[in-house]
Each structure stands twice: as C-alpha cells, then as structure tokens.
Subunit: 421 residues, 2 copies
Amino acid sequence: MDIQHYMNQLGQRARAASRAMARADTATKNQALSLIAAAIRREAPALRAANELDLAAARAHGMEAAMLDRLTLSDQAIATMALGLEQIVSLADPIGEISNMKYRPSGIQVGQMRVPLGVIGIIYEARPNVTVDAAGLCIKSGNATILRGGSEAIHCNQALAQLVRAGLQGAGLPAEAVQVVETTDRAAVGALITMPHYVDVIVPRGGKGLIERLMREATVPMIKHLDGICHVYIDDQADLQKALEIAFNAKCHRYGTCNTMETLLVAQAVAAQVLPALADRYAGQQVELRCDPAAAQILAGYPQLVQASEADWSTEYLAPILAVKVVADMDEAIEHINAYSSKHTEAIVTENYSRALRFLREVDSASVMVNASTRFADGFEYGLGAEIGISNDKLHARGPVGLEGLTSLKYVVFGHGEVRE
Amino acid sequence: MDIQHYMNQLGQRARAASRAMARADTATKNQALSLIAAAIRREAPALRAANELDLAAARAHGMEAAMLDRLTLSDQAIATMALGLEQIVSLADPIGEISNMKYRPSGIQVGQMRVPLGVIGIIYEARPNVTVDAAGLCIKSGNATILRGGSEAIHCNQALAQLVRAGLQGAGLPAEAVQVVETTDRAAVGALITMPHYVDVIVPRGGKGLIERLMREATVPMIKHLDGICHVYIDDQADLQKALEIAFNAKCHRYGTCNTMETLLVAQAVAAQVLPALADRYAGQQVELRCDPAAAQILAGYPQLVQASEADWSTEYLAPILAVKVVADMDEAIEHINAYSSKHTEAIVTENYSRALRFLREVDSASVMVNASTRFADGFEYGLGAEIGISNDKLHARGPVGLEGLTSLKYVVFGHGEVRE
C-alpha cells in the first residue's frame, strides 16, 4: 500500500466533501448527528465486540492497566457518546452568522460571516470516544474531517466510522465528510500533517511527545495543546476559607487533567496561616509537597515533604504531587507565573478589587481566574457545549476550543454597484 | 557581530517591554503616538536627509525607477505618516475589552478579554512608511515589535526609529517596545523567524519570493499575505451597467494592488452583450485580454487579444492584463474560483437574491462581495482605520488585518469561591 497515495486520496475526497458540508443547512447536519446517535445506541453490542478485539490485542501486547482502561468502551461510554452527539444537535449552528455589518461612507455594507475552516485533521491516541466527539463537532461546524486514531483502537474506530458514514448518507450528506484512516502505518500521520492543499488545520490530541514531533514536521497549521502547568496564587488579602477550598479542589479533584494545579504560590504574609491548614487536607490524600525553603520551613514535619528543585517549577506532575512556593507579593507571583507557566490556566484568590483586575489583565494565559478552581477551564464548564481540545496558542483559538474554534470569519460586502474613486 | 546573539538580545528586550505595553493605559499609548507624530513633522528635513543617503546608495547600485519611487520619502509621504499615527490615536483601544460575559450553572462568570499578542516581528521591503505605520498599530494594540526593514532604507528607518523611541520614552513607555534591526545581514531575518520564545507572530510584507522563503523556514506563526488572484463574475441576471462599472474599476483603478481583478468570468447568456461593451472601455486603457476560446470568438478583432493558456488562470499580473473566461452559470464560476483563486477577494455582479446569498456563502475567500468592486478589500475602506496587511489565511486573522488582528482573546473567570463538584 502506497501511504502517500492513499492519504492524497483521502485528502481529495475530504476537500470535495467539505464544499458540500459548507453548504449544508442546520437541519440536515442535525439529522445526520441524530441518526449517528441512534445507530450508536442500536449497535452497542457490535461496538463492544469490535472493542473486545482491540482489548484482546492490547492485552496480548502487554498494555498497562491505565491505557487498557482508556481503551475500554463500556456501555456507559457508548451511551455518553450518543448523548454527546445529541448535545451537539442542541447547540446553535455557528455557520452563516454575520456580525458587525455596517455601512461605510463609500456606500458598501461590510460585515463578517462565520464559515467552516474546511478540512480538519485530527490525530489522537487510545480513547475511541474521540472518534465520535470529533466527528460530531466537525459535522455541526460544516467541516470535513480526517480522523487518525491510535492503532490500539483500530477495530472500534472502524466500527464507529461505519455508523458515522451511514448517518451522513442517511441525511443526504457525503459519507467522505468523515473519513477514518484505515492503516496503522505511522507514515499516514506524516502525510496528513504535510498536505496543506487538502487539510486546513490539524488538531492533535495526545501526549507532549506526539505534539512536539508534529510541531517539528507539520506544514499544516495546528490548534494544539501542550502541557498544563497551572498555578493558584493565594494573596495576602484572600478569604482564607475560599483559598483552602480552591487550592484543595484545584489539586485533588482529579490528578490527571491538564487544568489541575501543579504549583501553589502563597503570599508571605499569610503563608504561616494558610500552608499548615492546607497541608492537613493534602495529607489526607497523600499529596507530596515539593517546597521552596520558606514553605519547607513552615511545613516542617509534613510527612511527604520534599525540597523543590528548579525543575519542579516547570513540571506537569499529573499526580498527587504539588510544588509550593512562598512569594513576597502578587508582583512576584505574576513574574513567576509568566516565567514558568505553560499559559494554560492560572487563578488568584483575593478579595482585593485592584489586584483581581491586575491579575486578570497581566497574566498571559489562556484562562485567568479570580476566586475559582482551575478545574473549571473546560469547554462544558465554559458553556461551549463540547470541546475538541484546549489551545495553549495565542493565535486563532485560545483556551477550550468548541464549534467556533473550528470556524473562520470572512468579510462579506453588500454593494449596490459601488466602485472605488 | 554575532547575529544570533544580537537578535536574542532584541528578543529579550522586546519580551520585557511587551509586559509594560500590555499594562499601558489608553491615554499613555495615545500620548506616545501623538509625540511621535509631532516629532515626524518637526524632523521632516532630517528624515529627508537620511532618505537622501538611502537614495544615493540605491542609485549607485542601479536600482530601477519603480523601486526608487517606493523608497522615496517625500514631504507628502512624511505628512501622511504623521497623519496615520493621529488616525490611530482616534481609534478605540481594543485592549481589555471583555465580551460574552455570562453566568454558568456552577456560579462562575465566564467571558473573553482582548489582550495583546505580545511581540510582533515585521519583515518588510523598501517602503520606509511601514516602519511608522507598523510601530503605530503595535503601540496602540499594546504589543512590542521588532521591525526588520529593507537594507535599502536603513538610514531612513533608523532615523524614524529614533523618533519612535523618543516618543515612547516621552510617554513613560519602554523605548524597547519598538526596535529596528540595525544590521542589514540577512541572517537577522533567519533568527527573527525562529525565536518563538521571544516572538509571538511574524507579519511579512513583501513579494511572493520572500514569503515563500519565510514559510519554509519559520517556526514562529505568521500572519501572511500571498498573492491576490481576484475574480469578478458577471451573472446573467446582472445589472449590465453595474457590471461594466465594476469590471472596469476592479481592473483599471490601480494595476499593482493585490485587490485588483485578475480574471473576469462572464455568464454565457450575457457574454455577447457584456464583453464587447467592456472591451471598448478596456481598449481605452490598452488592457491586454487573455481569452478562453468562447470569449476570444466574441471579442475577435480586439487589438490586444491573446489566447489564454492554463497558466493564465493562476497568474497575478499586477499589470494592464486581464484573463477572461465565459462560464455556463454561477456554479461553474464558483468552481473556477475555488480552484484557481488565491482566496483573497471575489465579487459577483447579479440582481438575483438567491444567487447573491449562495455566492457569499460558498466562495471560500477572505472577502466576498456582491455588486461592488474588488478594490474595496482594504482596511481603510472596511473601517478598520489602518491595516498591517491582508491575510489570505483562514486561521486567526482573515482579510484586512487591523488592530484586532494583533490581539488575542483569553478567557477570564470571575468566581466567588467556586470549586468543581
């Protein structure tokens, strides 16, 4: 099989299908999504059987338990996929919306119309639900998509792809609007990220290694997510009860998510009060605290205390480990954040109005919060309805990326015969 | 001189200055712009003297007349630069605006705040006015900038940079917010486009050769402009008088601009009526017509008639030359445009409501127009106040790029102690 030739064919078909998708009206796109949701519910036994093939192969290859867990398509996961599609049906169609339409002195009217990006390539790892979530978001936003899932999930992904194709065709849309790459050859990824003629944007969902490789090789632009080194800063004018709740929730609600706090900064003036109270709660969850000298002095005797090294300030633990630093004031906190953060999500806990506004403005991250847990940085929590990822980039989409991030704004001009003088 | 070391220093200083610029309030940024405008007016003789050094060197190197013309800083051009800065003063400050703020069921309020991109690198060729226009847009949008102008304009650019630095300092802003690269070594460009740690985006302004080279080598994202292969489609339900005016203006108003029409498409049903009338007007301007067989048959006898080759459909002439093709209907016109256009600007002339709406939606270009000349695709005409370029890309900024294109939206969350359940 000539991979480059195969991928070119997928690209050509996707480009052709993207024109039909851009023209499709809201009711048609919703019909396709509803048909796919119904088929997923109906075909649950077949999907589980396909998933069982993947799981058997994965076990034979000695896949570790956490990965097996991510690969497993339970009845619950199947129901959630179908429900996710139905939630996308209920979202407003972003396509065709015209904003800022105004008359200009020349007589023309100028506005901006929201349109699909075109063809979106999505590269992801084990979780098979991404196949359906991503297909749903791309269909609703009028895009065609090429999905390249992990080789571990190939049977399950192909079974899902079959249902998606049938749903598209049932609504009168081209089946090629959603194509799943049917080879597990890694060269397919290399081809997909270097076809700017056929693919408008790549959305990689995976570990740092995958994304760094893509960044080096891709000629197609990416909406990408790197790591989440998120900070909470507890100000000396914080409500200490709020500070305890937020700092505990931001670390312990879930350890493996990108919006989990990895470094806690505490103002010197309240450190001796805040840190021991917080440590009591962390101790209950066996959280290891990697402390700078000032924090270590205050927390002497904490059972899992480690001296922080320089590397701790830029490490995403994704585990019950937290870096802790005492800072002089908010200025030092902002300086630390802008130096070490991965520009994902940061929060301040304070009751001081002026500091809250300054923190919001001066911290250069995709999400900046006052008196809330970093765990809220999420498409569902923000009201986007669904997300295809969270972008650390500043250009185009920043933060959780929903339907709107998969669109572009073009200028539209309504004229009446005007010419330039 | 170690170019990489020198560029790293510029980058570090720009990054530091960008933090102060992001914090600067509107009045301070406007004061800097007004001081620079006043200095440019006051120092006009010194600027002309610096320009004279560049011109003398350029003549000695045998620069051609058109390039010498672009390099010349006339009294008129100096006044226009100062006026341009004063117009930027009068534009609303985009920074800090919060949009879409709403309560979520969890209790948090979520919105999006407009913030500067950070550090913008601008690479341009002969015209020295870009130094001031770009500096002005970056200052107003709260960004730091590194400007790399053409080596031909080095004396003039340095004289202008001196005035910009003084204006920034006079307003209490860091002089390093606008830095002009002081070496003409081409390695400086290579360094600038590969410093993602210091530079957030590159805006190249120059010929296709420059931009294609940058696209191959850059690791910093670009807001870029390639060529403008713009189309006008005259529908069989066009108002023929409007069609004549628009097709004439779109080609003949100015030949060398990117929003000039390069290909005219005419519906078969009206071709025999439209083309001879239009040819009468083009003949008066000695416009060469490169015709497909059907158009050539209708226009037989036109003094500057040439048979079109396949290459003509994808050529940006920037000259009194026009490709002409007869199409069956709007569908064929849209198909031709989406195949050959550079996705800059396209117009339809029609009185048919449904076709107008379909053309607006289905043509995949940065600007799509009904009954108006493509020459309107321009930041001033669209009401952006000023433009740093016109983007052919779909991600981030599309079409004319003004202050807003130099900004990003970050999510801001106003909480009251909320944590995730």
